[in-house]
């Protein structure tokens, strides 16, 4: 429980966002198609535009079991125009769904930080939903390596 509450604390500290973590128990096989299905469900089938989102992830993970992830979405965060939900999926994980962050105008910024577990080298895809019903996306490749032999 300590780990979960710490993650929530980090997310809160980074932008007063509520966080819903997805469980690891589902044993689906890893496919980009499964990730695409999760995204389609999130967007209701709408095709997200690229941009607005910056993802902070290492190019090569130091430890695949706990990879630091920070997301920020460029948005005014006023009651007229704000980011309401941000979906994170890991294309190569047994269960691609990682987390969904929920924001309100009171969040001030659409920013969140957490740590994620990556089974293998894969793309992390982030999709943001605005209060106006628009969707934005960005992705980053993270390499998970055996390590050693450098230098």
């Amino acid at each position: 429980m300590r780990h979960l509450s710490r993650r929530a604390a980090l997310a809160l500290g980074a932008g007063s966002a509520a966080i819903a973590l997805v469980g690891w128990s589902k044993s689906a096989s890893a496919t980009p198609q499964a990730a695409a299905a999760d995204i389609a469900k999130f967007t209701g089938g709408a095709k997200p535009e690229t941009g607005k989102i910056s993802i902070e992830l290492p190019e090569i993970a130091e430890n695949g079991n706990t990879v630091p992830l920070s997301i920020s979405v460029d948005a005014p965060m006023t009651s007229a125009d704000y980011v309401s939900d941000v979906l994170v999926v890991a294309e190569g994980n047994p269960n691609p769904g990682v987390a969904t962050f929920h924001f309100t105008p009171l969040s001030g910024k659409a920013e969140a930080s957490t740590r994620i577990r990556l089974a293998t080298t894969q793309n992390i895809v982030v999709v943001a939903k605005t209060s106006g019903g628009k969707y934005f996306t960005a992705s980053k490749l993270v390499k998970v390596t055996i390590g050693g032999c450098g230098g």
């Binding site: 910056s54 290492p58 630091p68 490749l141 055996i146 390590g147 050693g148 032999c149 450098g150």
Partner: protein
């Protein structure tokens, strides 16, 4: 800007002297090349940067053969530093068999080593640094790119102290690092606390709160110019080296942080922004193209020695070699917050030519005294040139692999593709110092484990991708893992999982079977708690038993996709 001819001052200075087919006599070479030739420089502008990097624990002059194979992939294909041997000489207009050819390439290495002798030594470096500081009073910054405190018996035994003590005499203005971290967090902090200059690493955060651990920048004024020196440690230290040695520190390229620090420095009035980097050359070339506002990147990690600055947009990239062989001098004319002109020279520190600085020579002697007897102890002799540097194999690694196979009764040996390690000339004795120069790490245990053929392929593919991923941000900058008892083919142009084929167990001549287990011996495991004898003892036992070693040319790796 200046002409190509002017930039090539080093070849001009050292080209006058060209050895014949049999090489020059040592005495003749010494008389012909002078300290004035090596250090002659037509001063320019208001700032001088002196750069050293990747000294790897070498207080004394060394033989170090530059690589014959150093392949570039993706956008770096065919570009310096991925030019070697005769192509290198042609590209930079350096005559074959000249002193510059000897310093910067593998060509005629053995013959030219006999003529020109060893290169490097902190006492020779001290002489040049003092001379440049006297000439350019108040305009000089001396910057150390790191991998300074590791790589020799003395450095390992004193846990970096010998290097820290001697480097202190040079009074550097800043440093960054990589192998330094393998002494562990506590020792790092202890050594850094003793420095009279900052250890810079803008790309290290603590794993708990993601807060900076080290200073990002040093702001300093030289020649009336406000200079920001940013430091970037090796981004993949906890991946390429044991993470358990630095468990609370997280690294990474952190391009956004570099950009933010450059902007902050400019806003803070910096007229010149210098990145003291241990990223590796290709990573820095990409970074320079993506981050605006860096005037100079002093590159490191990949051990490249280039006689010219490489330009990317308005950014100058400098590659100053390794093992203390060179010091780079970059004169800059900075006006109104921009570099209006520059002049560059990679100065090879020919040990027979440059007069040692007496104070540094005394400090080196003192630092080596506790180990002097052990360092000079002769273990055996070699009939072959022993060297390491090169993408796929080196004769010193072949020797290490032979030792692993025999001493640990293994079918296959794996030896890390480190880029450091000095060379031993044919006919020379192999000393304890030579062995440690190739093996001195803080996790030296030799493991012996069973690995399936499938796992072995995974390891080779993984390391190959660290070297040949077309995106430099996904590279780690080491060379390919060296294999004993195992042959393979590699297509460097393919993606991960498809580069390695034709894996063969050399002794039986049979193809490696994916499901069969093989007895594998290796060293430098990044896993905590690895058990086994120290690699230097294993290598010593082997050489002592052989008495005289001979390493035949290695043809067990077939390369394609170049």
């Amino acid at each position: 800007m200046i002409t190509r001819r002017e930039m090539l001052q080093v070849s001009a200075a050292t080209a006058a002297l060209v050895a014949g087919s049999g090489g020059l006599s040592r005495a003749f070479a010494q008389q012909t090349l002078t300290q004035d030739d090596l250090t002659r420089f037509d001063a320019l502008g208001n700032v001088t940067l002196l750069h050293v990097t990747d000294i790897h624990g070498q207080l004394m002059p060394v033989h170090f053969r530059e690589p014959s194979v150093n392949l570039g992939v993706g956008e770096a294909k065919g570009l310096p530093p991925h030019v070697t041997g005769a192509d290198f000489l042609k590209r930079f207009g350096i005559p074959a068999k000249s002193a510059a050819a000897y310093a910067m390439t593998d060509q005629d290495f053995t013959a030219l080593a006999a003529s020109y002798g060893k290169i490097g030594g902190l006492d020779r470096l001290a002489t040049v640094v003092r001379q440049v500081r006297a000439e350019r009073d108040g305009k000089v910054l001396l910057l150390d790119g790191g991998d300074t405190w590791q790589g020799s018996l003395g450095a390992n035994s004193s846990r970096g102290q010998d290097m820290v003590d001697c480097m202190a005499l040079l009074k550097p203005d800043a440093m960054t690092g990589h192998w330094e971290f393998t002494y562990g967090e506590a020792r790092m902090q202890e050594l850094i606390k003793s420095l009279d200059f900052p250890f810079l690493a803008l790309n290290i955060r603590d794993t708990e709160w993601n807060e900076p651990v080290f200073d990002a920048v040093r702001m300093v004024e030289k020649g009336g110019v406000k200079i920001a020196v940013l430091g970037q440690a090796f981004p993949y230290t906890p991946v390429a080296n044991p993470r358990w040695m630095m468990p609370k520190w997280s690294f990474g390229i952190r391009e956004d942080e570099v950009r933010a620090q450059v902007d902050k420095a400019r806003k803070g009035g910096a007229q010149l922004v210098v990145l003291l980097s241990h990223n590796g050359f290709d990573v820095d070339r990409k970074l320079a193209a993506r981050v605006d506002g860096i005037d100079v990147i002093l590159t490191g990690h990949t051990h490249d020695a280039l006689p010219e600055a490489v330009t990317v947009g308005k950014t100058l990239l400098i590659a100053s070699g390794s093992h203390g062989k060179f010091v780079s001098r970059l004169d800059l004319d900075v006006q109104g917050g921009a570099v209006k002109g520059y002049r560059y020279k990679l100065i090879p520190l020919f040990a027979d030519v440059i007069k040692p600085d007496p104070a540094m020579a005394a400090a080196i002697a003192k630092a080596r005294a506790p180990y002097a007897k052990e360092l000079s102890r002769v273990v055996g002799h070699t009939e072959s040139l022993l060297y390491r540097r090169g993408n796929f194999n080196g004769t010193f690694d072949d020797l290490i692999c032979a030792a692993l196979l025999k001493e640990r009764d293994a079918e296959i040996a794996l030896s890390p593709g480190f880029r450091w390690g000095t060379s031993v000339l044919p006919g020379a004795p192999i000393t304890v110092e030579d062995i440690h120069n190739a093996t001195a790490i803080t996790y030296p245990q030799v493991y012996r484990i069973a690995m399936t053929g499938e796992r072995l392929k995974e390891v080779l593919e993984d390391v190959a991708d660290n070297l040949f991923n077309p995106d430099p941000y996904y590279q780690q900058g080491g060379d390919m893992v060296r294999c004993g008892g195992l042959g393979y083919s590699i297509d460097v142009s393919k993606p991960i999982g498809q580069r390695i084929s034709g894996m063969t167990h050399l002794k039986s001549g049979k193809a490696i079977e994916p499901q069969r287990e093989y007895a594998v011996a290796g060293w430098a495991s990044v896993n905590e708690g690895t058990q086994g004898p120290n690699i230097w003892d294993v290598v010593e036992r082997h050489i002592a038993a052989e008495k005289t070693v001979r390493v035949t040319p290695n043809s067990s790796v077939k390369i394609s996709g170049i």
